[in-house]
Symmetry: C2
Subunit: 458 residues, 2 copies
């Protein structure tokens, strides 16, 4: 029995390891286009500034380590074609330029996603980069070493752009960030975006929102950026305006693509073709709150999907299920943690819910305990049923609060359920009532006043 | 309509404030025996060492502040007797020694709990204290100021004893801790107790477990402690061997007492007497995991109960419910956070479950992210159904992990549900898969191997 896995980052390597654990006899080969497998891509922004010291720190396992487990990992190999009827693959060895054929009994597609570089004039200039792979970070690192850029421009105010902005700032560069929409961190509500912008500005980053980049200027090397209202001198540009799933190989093979543009799978991670599973950033799943197809490419989800796909592909049976996602995410920008789970108010409204929400600023520990800081938390719920739909936050303790809310969503709880939830309290770890409880209590108060006509003063 | 509340700490003052919010007309009086209401008792250990700078920091609201809200708070007043048939109270003004009668339409009993001082010879010596009220901390503070004790002994290895040990150590004292059982932090499994003992010893605290204190020695002032295997010189003793609910007043009035020794209430916080509610450390509730009566006196729970009792007492209707508790708790000892929720393995076994558990040491952030530390987490589940029964942990990030597990328990999740839960990941905030997911995955692996007969190597 031969299992081939196309793609060797989070989902692909997890699927391989899981298959090996379940079946010591199976032949397992992983093809990976980039020169290293098993890269922690989420760590790349931190490698730029040496917050993560060595590039090797981001390589969880080398091909040699996989070989010890009898998993063949062939890097710099591109799978060019899948013949699903014959269960054959056409593979190009990128080192030698030689093409060869391979066969499989079972196949896992884990081709991931790639960064989008919009068609901006000058995008081909030296010094204009995207950051998706370790090779991108190597190139950026080499460029910085060679040219010692003083001024850097980030295009895109999503989490990658924000993380990169922080890390270039750490290198002493004068950093500007340009975002086409009217605020950064668009997946969040305006309260959170405001805090992120304030955090950037507090660290000397110039923030230009509602500005479309028109041109990168320079001769050979980038020297400037033109946008609607002005222009900036720059020695380095990093574009982080989004990623898209790598589905060409699958699509050419006849695999069904979903409405989001990513590979459609069932809950057992099977694609529309027999003997072919898919996992990771190249697949579409379900948002469990809205019930709608969702494409949420994240490393932790890829890992979980890889386990399911690897198990089912190894056994050929529908043993494990991947239920879907909540859309939980978190990032750090300087000292500000920003996270969300479920739907934002905007997303919830678009999904057809009549939304009620409560946002508050709350302490991260007892008011009298040293080091107390404030954080913002907003709960978003369905007005009709009280069902929790989402949460977002920014500031100290946000990671904990978002994980509490994600677990509540996972358990299908409504906000009245959260008013008396028994969370862990001690002065160093939170206020007596968690901000989650405080926000749920505010929502309950609104509800009571609306429904019961209680004589509430506020 | 006159509402009287007996006890003015967390539950009592919350009930009063809530009642005022719901009913601007009601007469509200709170009787409080201690000289200040609305004390954050959880902060007392930190006041000893000036981690919390001022005693005023622990007083959330003064009687004057309550008066602004038209709530009468009478401190140094002891309610001596309740005549529930006549709805009358007999009250003693402790400042003047004068007794007087009062009446109520509705009554909330929130008499709290008091520290137990076991009958050890010498317990009456100067320098032997317990720590429950702000007045206790005043006395200890005065004693320390006057006598500059060099050596301190803590009796009891529960969370109060541990917190006090840390804070006396901060004052430069040579601290010993004596625990009658064979390990400290008995509510936890042995892995956690070991870590707590190691943390104490790393900070120079002498830990004596399995030792029963036989006598405090000294003339007038305490100078030594004798126990089974030896004796210690000491200038200060703080006894933290437990607390018990203050129920004498309620019991004398005919209020039904539960099997735990605390006041029995229904889910609307009503006692067995008409017009009488109770809340806080003096009441018994339900452990929602075991379904059994539980007495878990904690500040956050008292606050939540106070809201329910205050609402229902103010309206006279069964508007809000308090469902019960999970037994969630957390404490810090030096740099170690220690928390639990639900049942420990021992408690789960005693409650009749066939227990399966998985414990692991996991990183608190990505392995490559600076400052990474390990923490221990154990999940405890029902073997037959997979239902999560409890969790405990120690180390960095424990507060977050315990709150995730508490929310999972609150939502009635089983461990297979937690394998694919969508929690928030980013390198600064956790490993790619949360320790909760890792532990649930270990449990699932055990289960699969047992049930499916998969050829798993481990």
């Amino acid at each position: 029995m031969r299992l081939v896995i196309v793609g060797g980052v989070a989902a692909g390597t997890k699927a391989a390891s899981r298959a090996r654990r379940l079946d010591p006899e199976m032949e397992i080969t992983v093809y990976q286009e980039e020169p290293e497998p098993s890269i922690s891509e989420c760590g790349l922004p931190y490698l730029l500034s040496s917050v993560v010291r060595e590039r090797e720190n981001l390589i969880a396992r080398t091909p040699e380590r996989f070989a010890q487990n009898d998993i063949e990992v062939l890097v710099r190999h591109r799978v060019q074609k899948i013949d699903s009827a014959a269960r054959e693959l056409s593979v190009l060895d990128l080192k030698t330029g030689e093409a060869f054929d391979d066969t499989y009994d079972r196949l896992v597609i884990a081709t991931g996603a790639r960064a989008v570089l919009p068609p901006i004039p000058g995008a081909e200039l030296e010094g204009v980069f995207k950051l998706r792979f370790l090779t991108d970070s190597d190139e950026i690192g080499g460029y910085i070493e060679e040219h010692s850029p003083k001024k850097a421009t980030i295009v895109g105010g999503g989490y990658i752009g924000l993380e990169v902005a922080e890390n270039l700032c750490r290198l002493g560069m004068e950093v500007s960030l340009i975002e086409g929409e009217d605020r950064v961190a668009l997946a969040y509500g305006p309260e959170v975006s405001e805090q992120v912008e304030a955090e950037l500005e507090a660290h000397g980053i110039g923030v230009y929102t509602g500005e479309k980049v028109e041109e990168f200027t320079g001769e050979g090397r980038v020297r400037g950026v033109k946008f609607g209202d002005g222009k900036l001198e720059t020695d380095l540009v990093i574009v982080g305006v989004g990623i898209k799933p790598c589905v060409d190989l699958a699509e050419d093979a006849g695999v069904e693509i979903g409405v989001t543009g990513a590979i459609r799978i069932d809950k057992h991670m099977r694609t529309s073709l027999p003997g072919v599973w898919a996992a990771g950033d190249c697949v579409e799943t379900t948002n469990l709150v809205s019930g709608k197809p969702a494409w949420v490419p994240l490393g932790d989800t890829a890992n979980q999907m890889g386990r399911v796909a690897g198990t089912n592909a190894a056994t050929g049976e529908d043993i494990l299920e991947f239920p879907g996602v909540l859309g939980t995410g978190i990032f750090k920008v300087f000292d500000l943690g920003v996270g969300k789970t479920g739907l934002s108010e905007k997303e919830a409204t678009e999904a057809g819910f009549e939304v009620v929400s409560a946002g508050l600023w709350a302490n991260d520990r007892a008011a009298y305990y040293p080091g107390v800081q404030k954080g913002f938390l907003k709960l978003i719920a369905d007005h009709a049923t009280g069902r929790l739909l989402g949460a977002e936050g920014a500031g100290s303790g946000t990671d904990k609060l978002i994980d509490i809310c994600a677990t509540a969503l996972w358990g299908g709880l409504s906000y009245p359920d959260l008013v008396n939830i028994d969370l862990a309290y001690s002065p160093p770890y939170g206020p007596a009532l968690s901000p989650v409880i405080q926000a749920a209590t505010i929502l309950s108060g609104k509800f009571e006043r609306a429904r019961e006509g209680l004589r509430a003063s506020e």
